[in-house]
Symmetry: C2
Subunit: 349 residues, 2 copies
DNA sequence: GCTAGCTGCTAATGGCCATTAGCTAATTTC
DNA sequence: GAAATTAGCTAATGGCCATTAGCAGCTAGC
């Protein structure tokens, strides 16, 4: 059955077999409504030859000649699948897959970078095999992103990315609005003294976006902005709870779930229960989360939807000639949970 | 920054800029230990031009010229990610990703087929963009597999595949050995009357492999082969339990977890407890499994390892010129569980 | 001064396809 | 029956790169 082992037939081979020219084979194959016409007999002869010899077009040559490839590259700055990131990345991928399938594109997962993940490698990048790319990762290499942007290669970053120079396209979760809503929900529950806390330096974009939402909530209500505490590490939680008690805080907006968990434990030791004495909302970042028993009030990061949106955006920009940067944000669904309650009464202090 | 929007520089452009020939650019880029030598000054000039203009090689042209692409296609006969299959397919993908990364290959996920998944489409397939492919799916289209085999395109099927005509390469879980072991384990626990049961027609390869293991266990022990029951649907479980009781069966080898669950429930209603009165082992197929409370004795399908092995096999066959079909099987780890106990004593019947 | 050998580069080719200008033969128009 | 049109095809080109044969200029050897 297997003819000419190791070498697949080309259009030229088929042409020779069918007694036509290579161009005719190409025309039959692509069957456009272009000027050229092919008689049914010739067409059938060519198709028969293709079938008999198991002709399959060489996709590389095709893309070289034609341009589009209908392939979307997916590049992550951390290994996608390998264990640690599995739960984090998988929903993004899921969304991309779904949308790509609908838009009739395939996904090329760039995984081969190995240890030090970098897009460019000896002045070359495999990324360009695809028509465009979706970039992913919490700790991207900004230089490389800028270089890619300057190369004119179309891509969409999944996650909020601001770089120097010209802007890049991205899809971001709308942490700001969600944080604002959660904070206002605390206000609505009667909390007067609401604070924000995080672990780490808060320089990352997602962190800034969240804080911004927190501030907006106050501004919208015409209130004086509540305290924002930045802890260096989990060790400092005890001190944080001291401050909470001292300042009479009854509503806490916690950036990380880990932080919320620690606060809950530490507060418990002081006889403060969540949410009876202290309401806590969590801002969707499951980093280092340990337990899953508590049903935290907070929001979800719409990862799957972000994957879909990014894909849609990318394909749209591939279809158009306009290559200005685009941004889109995706709403974060609020999770009601059970850790935000009414302000404790009679707690004068 | 962005020069010549929409068009990336080619080697010819760089060559013109650096005052050399296109071939020189290519040589600098690839820097092989081939015959050609380039002086350091020229090299630097070229590299500088590449950097300045943001040169990136066109991967399609490269693969067209060079041959290998270091891309492995992944094709599934069912959508990979979309919800239902997620848990099923993900471990395979995980294994493929890991192995591909180690072997410095990228993964091209063919997802664009849309509703009716078929490899060939108007006489063409995008699969060949990759150097080879990994095929996946419980309900493959056999015609297409045969056609792909006949086309000479290298691929490895993940799962046991027998087709007509020439054989194809595959990696299969060793259901046979695992089933044999489990059955023998029942023997070792003293069970004299051991039966096999499944839901569905049992024509699929995995089903046949399991039954084979069951038979081998008996043969190895020189026993008369126990009954094999094939149920049409879950409805028939009550009847099955009747038969079990009537035949004095104390050890049951259940193909599907769903079946095991139903048997356990139905047996319970008759006052038969698992494993006190009836030992049940499950053959790794979680199809339709509902609950997870019971710690079934059975085996695991080593999906991740299968993904790795298939990838390794494929790359090895790409590296060699020999393209005969290869097979490999991966052992299924036995899960001790708690549903297989010693034969009930005094149960004369 | 002539040859041999080396260094450093280039011209040319091929890989497979899509596209277009243009050609031939058949058919229609007047 | 000549001119115009049309149907059906092909030759040629370009897309970007890797590879190889070979050329020009130089040095070393005798």
């Amino acid at each position: 059955m297997s003819r000419g082992i190791g070498k697949r037939p080309t259009q030229a081979d088929i042409a020779r077999l069918a007694g036509v020219s290579q161009a005719t084979v190409s025309l039959v194959l692509n069957e456009r409504d272009s000027g050229a016409r092919i008689s049914p007999e010739t067409r059938d002869r060519v198709l028969a030859a293709m079938r008999e010899w198991g002709y399959v077009a060489n996709a590389s040559a095709r893309s070289l000649a034609g341009g589009r490839n209908r392939i979307i590259g997916v590049y992550t700055f951390e290994p996608v699948f390998p264990t640690t990131g599995v739960d984090f990345y998988f929903p993004f991928l899921l969304g991309m897959e779904q949308e790509a399938a609908e838009l009739r594109h395939d996904l090329l997962l760039f995984t081969s970078a190995g240890g030090d993940r970098q897009i460019f490698r000896d002045g070359s990048t495999r990324l360009t095999l695809a028509d465009g790319a979706l970039l992913l990762g919490r700790n991207p290499n900004v230089d490389e992103i800028e270089r890619l942007r300057d190369s004119g290669f179309p891509f969409v970053y999944v996650g909020h990315r601001e770089v120097t120079g010209a802007p890049v396209s991205y899809v971001a979760a709308d942490y700001t609005t969600a944080t604002q809503e959660l904070t206002q929900r605390l206000f609505a529950l009667g909390h007067e003294r609401v604070a924000y806390a995080r672990i780490g330096e808060g320089e990352a974009q997602p962190s800034r976006d969240r804080e911004k939402g927190f501030r907006q909530a106050f501004r919208a209500d015409g209130r004086l902005i509540g305290p924002v505490w930045t802890l260096e590490s989990v060790q400092d939680v005890a001190g944080l709870v001291d401050e909470i008690a001292a300042a009479g805080i009854t509503g806490l907006v916690a950036e990380q779930q880990l932080l919320a968990e620690e606060v809950r434990t530490a507060a418990g030791r002081r006889g403060l229960a969540v949410p009876t004495d202290l309401s806590v909302v969590v801002l969707g970042d499951p980093t280092g989360a340990r337990q899953h028993e508590v049903d935290w009030t907070g929001f979800e990061v719409p990862r799957q939807e972000m994957g879909r949106t990014a894909t849609r955006l990318l394909v749209r920009s591939l279809d158009s000639t306009d290559n200005t940067a685009v941004r889109e944000s995706v709403a974060c669904p609020i999770v009601p949970g059970g850790t935000a309650g009414p302000r404790p009464l009679g707690r004068a202090r």
